[in-house]
Symmetry: C2
Subunit: 151 residues, 2 copies
């Protein structure tokens, strides 16, 4: 399959990737390394919080989303990196045993004046659990190589 | 030390945490698990990209920042979780051997109408390398318990 270039991302198009299962072990392991707050590590403590039970660190959810983005299309693209993220919202807890699907919507594409061989793509990513609930939304900006430079 | 509550976060105040050293091994390990793009795993490939050499996944930088936030003050607070992040920008590559400092600025604090026992704090976090370069900025929203409920 040939690599995805900027021209292949069509505004308004929607694609889905996954599902990916999230285990209790990986929730606790990520928290122990990067976000050692008890609601992400201790089931009993977590039950006493607004989360109502063990839930993944929001940053773990972002990292799982990144892996699904990478496997779904990014590693097979002329991706040139990202300057950042415009918004992340964690809407619902991600629980042990959840099965997450990634939904990708293309919000915007435009050429880059500063680099005529690249273009910009703005994505909305949603992670959706097995009950159909959106657990996280993100708006991400990425640069991609163009098939034919505008220069 | 008594736990930090909403009242302890003063608008305009600045604090610094760290430094934290970033190793080549952890950059590659995070990428292998969550962001397996070659610029985060393969030194020679990375030299051919705009990064100019091996650099941490942006999500790894976020996760390192979270750990510094947790160790710096969050685990010693009445933190009640976060609805999300308003903006993430990756300004410079994070390299093996970088020593990162976290600078926290309090942008805004306000009571929550919906929960009189909680307040909202909006932070700007900057990660700064040993050369004084800001490598990442974030604007994060967190809820904290109040020492005295407004109810």
């Amino acid at each position: 399959m040939s690599k995805l270039h900027w021209e292949d991302f069509i505004v308004g198009s929607v694609a889905e990737y996954g599902p990916r299962l999230v285990s209790r072990e990986e929730i606790i392991a990520f928290a122990a390394e990067f976000d050692p707050q008890p609601a992400h590590m201790d089931e009993e403590f977590a039950r006493s919080t607004m989360l109502g039970g063990l839930a993944a660190s929001g940053w773990h959810t972002c990292a799982i989303g990144m892996r699904m983005i990478a496997d779904g299309f990014m590693t097979n693209s002329a991706g040139m990196g990202s300057p950042g993220i415009d918004q992340v919202r964690w809407h619902k807890p991600v629980r042990p045993g959840d099965s997450l699907t990634l939904r990708r919507t293309i919000l915007e594409t435009r050429p880059l004046k500063s680099r005529p061989d690249w273009g910009l793509v703005k994505f909305r990513f949603e992670l959706i659990n097995q009950a159909g609930e959106v657990v996280m939304t993100q708006e991400n900006i990425n640069f991609f190589g163009r098939r034919e430079s505008a220069a």
